[in-house]
């Protein structure tokens, strides 16, 4: 009781306060380990409500004066700061740039009382003044839940009046903050070392991109996007007064702004809205910021061929809605500034590009300018007028809804007669549901499109939906036209009463209104039934979010505990704290996912090339194709390339230049009747005319189309080198922790989508958080095991059906037309009449003999082979029964025979023939493949007609058993990526690979659970701080275990800096001091 007060079987005395035993003190979230050792309460921190302030720089945080007078920083007095500190001491505790304590050695003086002036005058070099924090000080700013490393970042202080912490809205993204009452925490690092580390590693500027996939997370949001969009539309013009006014908004007084020449000179000088962004990116002529980017905007409409003469070739930037952005040397050519261009989540946004090409400071400054520009410009609001549908819109909508209702009626009528053609693997009812759902979802889509067309272009919700700042087309159409079908648990509203959803409807009605279709809009108002359906679906969403947060939080914690100590070493291998290798090179190539520009590549060639073309000088002679390749090869042989870049990278660069530059130039030359000159040939010398006498005009054409100068080429190669050199991972990076966060954090954002149709209706695959959980738990039983089999003859339906028959479980009951008892004085038997017609129809390869053996093989029935006689002529089988309890035996047989598996694999529930809808490595479009629901990968592989080598399963454990640990690793990676992709979440493959390696590096598939982690780690301290605290401690004391305090958790518990990772990796290693043997205790013998 004293040790463990929760012993099972011991009832707690009522009325008495339960005793807190040792065990209870240690374990749990509030226990000693997690509450006091792994996490501690700290000084020099503050917490208050946050509010927005676009006039702050993005790396600033406004701290209330009250707070700044409590938080202090101990600054040592030097020649440089003595005057400032003297003044601070004089000001004391209550006046802002003051100080609270002065310390000389161990002697610390409080400045609230006493003679402050005297202390200030006596201040000497080397004293330490605990001064108030002032503008420019370094603090850490944090919002819970701290799901990833961007949840705690380093800001610079700006001391301001009033009571809230204020931050630039651009930084809301990584914190996931809004201003509906959120509170945030602030910590002040107390040493120069800590400040430097914070500034270099955690500063907002150094964390503009997420390490999950290298996309920017700090970028314009909401109204900033709306304002940029409105400003950059094609019909926005300003006169000089307005233009200069706007330019003044975004800068402060110490920025020189050069006004560009106006776009329209006569009759009045006018500047376009897009020119504002030119100035924003490159404020003056001295600035060297040349942004070059070409990208798709949030909504890109393709140019329609019928609007142009047929000789014209349509290109992307001819988009009718200005949906293609082209920026050349910081001049916006076309395109609007919407979510994809100034918002987060796109590598090709202007801030993303600035960050990659000109560094974080420039990107942050530009972002600050944008925030200031967007703050005071337009009013933007939404009123009832915005959601009133016009007459055309309401008419069209009613028409659409009525037509959909009629279609549904037809379908229902068809289904009643049973004439609906079943979808593969569905029965009549499911088919009907699927078809009605598709009709109704099309309605909503169609109504949404009409809304987009019919609403005014000044309609506020529409503007927000098109530029992506808030809301979507669906939200607009729900307000204006039609709320649409309500979905509960992936289906239409279920029956809550007998055979109907509500008593307002007839029984067994399947019409849209009775199953949750809401035809009204939020403007027109919902009917009572509609309102209830909408509320049901809304409640489901709430419950799901609540459940998910708890689940993902726990998942995140486990992932973190399992991966926390993995760091890159000086040889770029990834090892855990005991030195065990997890990967021999991080991510197979030693590159940092946060620094990658392309899709998992360090450089995006196409953009880098156009950037190089734009910044390189165009004057000078154009190179010949072979000269290009020669220069490339010469450059690649130089030391800096050889030492930094691996051969494969140089090869990709070379291939890119060959395909996109040299070859193109060669083709161009050939088409104009010149030598291709792709390779240098021996007979050429200085005077050979490689143009073969082409005219000057033709030379000019070739030059205009594909001239490349040496300086451009060198610029490109330099970019290639720089990008690669920057992208290499640093030794000591905590890749494990970052990987765990990158996989755990997106989990919280996963939406309701729990299922997904794998090509065929009714073939569901679990997705979302439940699926991720299954994978990382390495669960033995998963909810939707699916084996996909490639077929030998993949283009014929009948042969696919035969294979399906071989695999799918067929019960005797399915193929027997009659199961009869026969009683006679001499004999008793169960007669089975086999329905050969059914066998033929199902294309089963089944003979009577097979059936007989299947019955004999059935374990429970225990029928002897001799008891069965076959009558092949009549397709009958007889099982004779004899003995004492023949009546009961007979009854038992009759009951159980129908469930005998006569053909196929018992663990397989069903198989479905799937027709591929796109090409991939497993076959062409239109190929048939077999999707098998159930377990038994090996059985599927060895079935005739299946290509065993290309049969895969989504069940990790089974793959490990059949194909080995390496295949299991591959499956883990594929499945996680597949799940994430179906939620539109991109995670760098390196993180997922690391997780796959962690789960398999011990030779068996270990789940990220308490059992798996216990097998991965040796440290008792770490395991005790994870789960089952006391069990591990009891174990350790019984076996007398050692703990080397090498991991992260252990170091934190002991109060050390985390060993062997990050900035504590470079360290002086020395031999451990020899400890003398403990003195024998006085009463040792007696123990």
């Amino acid at each position: 009781m004293y040790i463990n007060s929760e012993l099972p079987g011991v009832p707690s005395q009522p009325g008495q306060k339960p005793i807190r035993g040792f065990v209870q003190r240690l374990k749990g979230k509030q226990g000693r380990f997690r509450g006091n050792l792994s996490g501690k309460r700290v000084d020099f921190s503050g917490r208050t409500v946050i509010s927005p302030d676009p006039n702050l720089r993005i790396d600033e945080v406004a701290v209330p004066e009250r707070v700044s007078k409590i938080l202090t920083y101990p600054e040592r007095v030097t020649t440089h700061n003595i005057e400032m500190l003297k003044q601070a001491v004089r000001n004391g505790c209550d006046v802002h740039p003051g100080a609270n304590f002065v310390a000389r050695g161990d002697n610390k003086k409080f400045l609230k009382f006493g003679n402050r002036a005297a202390i200030a005058d006596g201040l000497k070099y080397g004293d330490v003044v605990e001064r108030h924090i002032i503008d420019g000080d370094i603090v850490l700013f944090n919002r819970q839940p701290s799901l990833h490393k961007l949840s705690i970042m380093c800001h610079r202080v700006k001391v301001r009046p009033w009571r809230s912490f204020r931050l630039n809205e651009c930084v809301c993204g990584p914190y996931n903050a809004d201003f509906d009452g959120d509170e945030m925490n602030l910590h002040v690092p107390q040493t120069e070392e800590a400040r430097t580390e914070a500034l270099e590693l955690m500063s907002v500027k150094h964390n503009l991109v997420t390490p999950r996939n290298g996309e920017p997370v700090i970028a314009a949001i909401q109204d900033f996007i709306t304002a940029s969009y409105l400003l950059s539309r094609r019909d926005v013009f300003f006169d000089r007064r307005q233009f200069t006014q706007i330019c003044c908004y975004f800068a402060d007084a110490n920025l020189q702004i050069d006004i560009p020449p106006p776009t329209i000179w006569k009759p009045v000088r006018l500047w376009t809205g897009k020119q504002i962004f030119n100035v924003l990116m490159r404020p003056n002529k001295k600035s060297k910021i040349f942004v070059n980017v070409e990208s798709k905007c949030n909504k890109w409409e393709e140019a329609k061929a019928e609007n142009y003469p047929s000789r014209m070739k349509l290109v992307n930037d001819m988009s009718p809605n200005d949906g293609w952005l082209v920026i050349v040397n910081s001049e916006v050519m076309c395109g609007v500034m919407d979510k994809a261009i100034v918002g987060s989540g796109k590598k090709k946004s202007i801030f993303g590009v600035m960050l990659r090409d000109y560094g974080p400071h420039e990107a942050a400054a530009a972002m600050g300018r944008l925030a200031k520009l967007c703050a005071p410009n337009f009013g933007f609001s939404l009123g009832i007028n915005d959601v009133i549908p016009g007459p055309i819109l309401s008419m069209k909508k009613d028409e659409l809804v009525e037509r959909a209702y009629a279609d549904c009626q037809d379908l229902i009528a068809l289904a009643k007669k049973g004439k609906l053609e079943n979808k593969p693997g569905c029965n009549q009812e499911q088919t009907l549901e699927a078809m009605i759902s598709s009709v109704l979802s099309k309605v909503r889509e169609a109504v949404g499109n009409i809304c987009m067309k019919e609403l005014s272009r000044h309609n506020a919700p529409l503007i927000m939906a098109t530029c992506g700042s808030k809301g979507s087309v669906i939200n607009v159409s729900q307000m204006v036209a039609c709320v649409g079908q309500q979905i509960i648990a992936g289906h239409r509203v279920p029956d809550g009463f007998q055979d109907r959803s509500l008593p307002h409807f007839p029984k067994k009605s399947k019409e849209p209104p009775s199953k949750g279709f809401v035809r009204n809009s939020f403007y027109s108002g919902l009917r009572a039934t509609e309102f209830l359906f909408h509320a049901i679906s809304g409640r489901e969403g709430l419950v799901d979010t609540a459940v998910k947060t708890a689940e993902t939080g726990y998942m995140q914690r486990r992932l973190m505990k399992a991966l926390e100590d993995l760091t890159t070493q000086y040889d770029l291998s990834v090892r855990n704290s005991t030195g065990g290798v997890v990967q021999f090179t991080y991510g197979d190539d030693g590159l940092d996912p946060a620094c990658l520009e392309g899709d998992a590549q360090p450089i995006e060639f196409q953009r880098a090339w156009s950037h190089a073309m734009a910044i390189g000088s165009r004057t000078g002679r154009g190179l010949l194709p072979f000269e290009i390749m020669e220069i490339v090869n010469v450059q690649f042989a130089t030391r800096r390339f050889v030492e930094t870049c691996p051969e494969t990278y140089m090869e990709t660069v070379r291939t890119f230049i060959w395909d996109n530059v040299a070859k193109k130039l060669g083709d161009m030359r050939q088409s104009r009747g010149m030598f291709e000159a792709l390779e240098r040939e021996g007979e050429w010398d200085e005077d050979t005319d490689l143009s073969m006498g082409a005219s000057d005009s033709e030379k000019a054409i070739v030059d205009n189309k594909s001239k490349v100068t040496e300086s451009q080429l060198l610029a490109f190669l330099n970019i290639c080198w720089v990008k690669y050199a920057k992208a290499r991972i640093e030794p000591g990076s905590t890749v494990g922790a970052v990987g765990a966060q990158s996989i755990g954090e997106p989990g919280t954002q996963m939406t309701l989508k729990t299922f997904h149709f794998a090509g065929v209706a009714s073939m569901n695959v679990t997705l979302g958080v439940p699926r991720i959980k299954e994978i990382i738990n390495a669960a033995k039983a998963i909810s939707t095991p699916i084996i996909s089999c490639r077929l030998v003859t993949c283009n014929s339906e009948p042969s696919a059906r035969i294979v399906k028959g071989r695999l799918e479980k067929t019960l005797l009951g399915d193929i027997a037309s009659v199961l009869e008892e026969a009683w006679a004085p001499e004999y008793t038997y169960v007669g089975i009449i086999i329905d050969t017609q059914a066998i033929m129809k199902l294309q089963l390869e089944l003979t009577l003999d097979d059936i007989k053996w299947a019955i004999v093989a059935h374990k429970k029935l225990k029928i002897k082979q001799e008891a069965i006689t076959m009558i092949p002529r009549k397709n009958r089988l007889r099982i004779y029964v004899d003995g004492q309890d023949k009546f009961y035996r007979l009854r038992e047989f009759k009951r159980n025979l129908a469930a005998v598996v006569v053909k196929g694999v018992p663990t397989i529930a069903r198989a479905i023939i799937n027709i591929k809808d796109k090409d991939d490595h497993r076959g062409k479009k239109g190929d048939k493949e077999l999707l098998v629901e159930g377990y038994g990968l090996q059985k599927c592989m060895i079935t005739e007609g299946v290509i065993g080598e290309q049969t895969t399963s989504n069940h990790v454990i089974e793959v490990a058993q059949v194909l080995g640990i390496e295949a299991a690793r591959r499956t883990i990676i594929n499945e996680i990526q597949y799940t994430m992709k179906s939620h539109d979440m991109i995670i760098d493959p390196r993180h997922v690979m690391l997780l796959g390696d962690v789960m398999t590096y011990k030779g068996e598939v270990l789940g990220i659970t308490r059992f798996g982690v216990a097998k991965m780690k040796d440290s008792v301290m770490m395991l005790a701080s994870f789960e089952k605290t006391t069990d591990h401690l009891f174990d350790a004391s019984a076996y007398g275990k050692n703990d080397s305090i090498a991991g992260v958790s252990e170091s934190i518990i002991m109060g050390n800096p985390a060993a062997r990772c990050g900035t504590s990796m470079p360290a002086l290693y020395s031999v451990a001091p020899v400890l003398s043997k403990p003195r024998p205790l006085l009463f040792e013998e007696s123990i």
Partner: protein, 208 residues
């Protein structure tokens, strides 16, 4: 007849895989035995329709060391007992070969497994069911290339990364691929995977 056709087709696949297996382990196997097609296989081993598994037995010697021989034994029995194991041991003793592989169509009794363990000191016996061999798992799309490292190569590897044996990633002895290559405790396999980030990537695992 359909039954027999099925059976011989199965055995043809098993036979091909076992030859590939023996070849991959570094024993002498002629090319035509691996690439033999179904018709020739039927003609050679099952001229009268039914097939006698004992005809498939073969032995071969290592490419480098001709005294190191391996014997592959096919058995008819659905469940392999101690008796069959005795028979195999008898053959091994007679031919003085100390490595044997037994291929069986059904399953193996626990007592027969015990024989393998008990004889481990003298003979290296391995067991495969025909189901394991119908498809050569090392040719599967998910399975990357595995190569067994020689002791010298292993030493170089450990020195290059300054590793102790315990610090290498592991592979179980019961892992299907490890069984295919007949890995023994302490042997290291080099795994060359196709990689989406770097094209190709080499990793290592130690058998334990």
């Amino acid at each position: 007849m359909a039954e027999n056709g099925d059976e011989s087709a199965k055995l043809w696949k098993v036979n091909r895989t076992i030859h590939e297996l023996v070849n991959d382990r570094g024993f002498l196997v002629s090319e035509e035995e691996i690439s033999m097609d179904l018709a020739t296989f039927r003609a050679t081993y099952a001229p009268h329709g039914s097939l006698d598994r004992s005809q498939l037995n073969f032995f071969t010697s290592s490419k480098t060391n001709s005294t190191d021989q391996i014997f592959v034994f096919f058995t008819e029995e659905r469940s392999v007992g101690v008796k069959t194991m005795r028979k195999l041991l008898g053959i091994l003793e007679e031919k003085s070969i100390n490595r044997g592989i037994i291929v069986f169509p059904g399953n193996m009794t626990p007592s027969a497994r015990k024989v393998i363990v008990a004889m481990a000191a003298q003979y290296r016996l391995e067991e495969f069911s025909e189901a394991d061999l119908l498809v050569n798992i090392t040719h599967h799309t998910l399975v990357p290339k595995h190569e067994v490292l020689s002791p010298e190569e292993k030493k170089v590897l450990l020195e290059k990364y300054r590793l102790k044996e315990t610090q290498l990633p592991r592979i179980q002895m019961a892992d299907p691929v490890a069984r295919y290559y007949g890995l023994r405790r302490g042997q290291v396999v080099k795994i060359t995977r196709p990689s989406e980030t770097s094209g190709r990537y080499a990793s290592y695992r130690i058998c334990f």
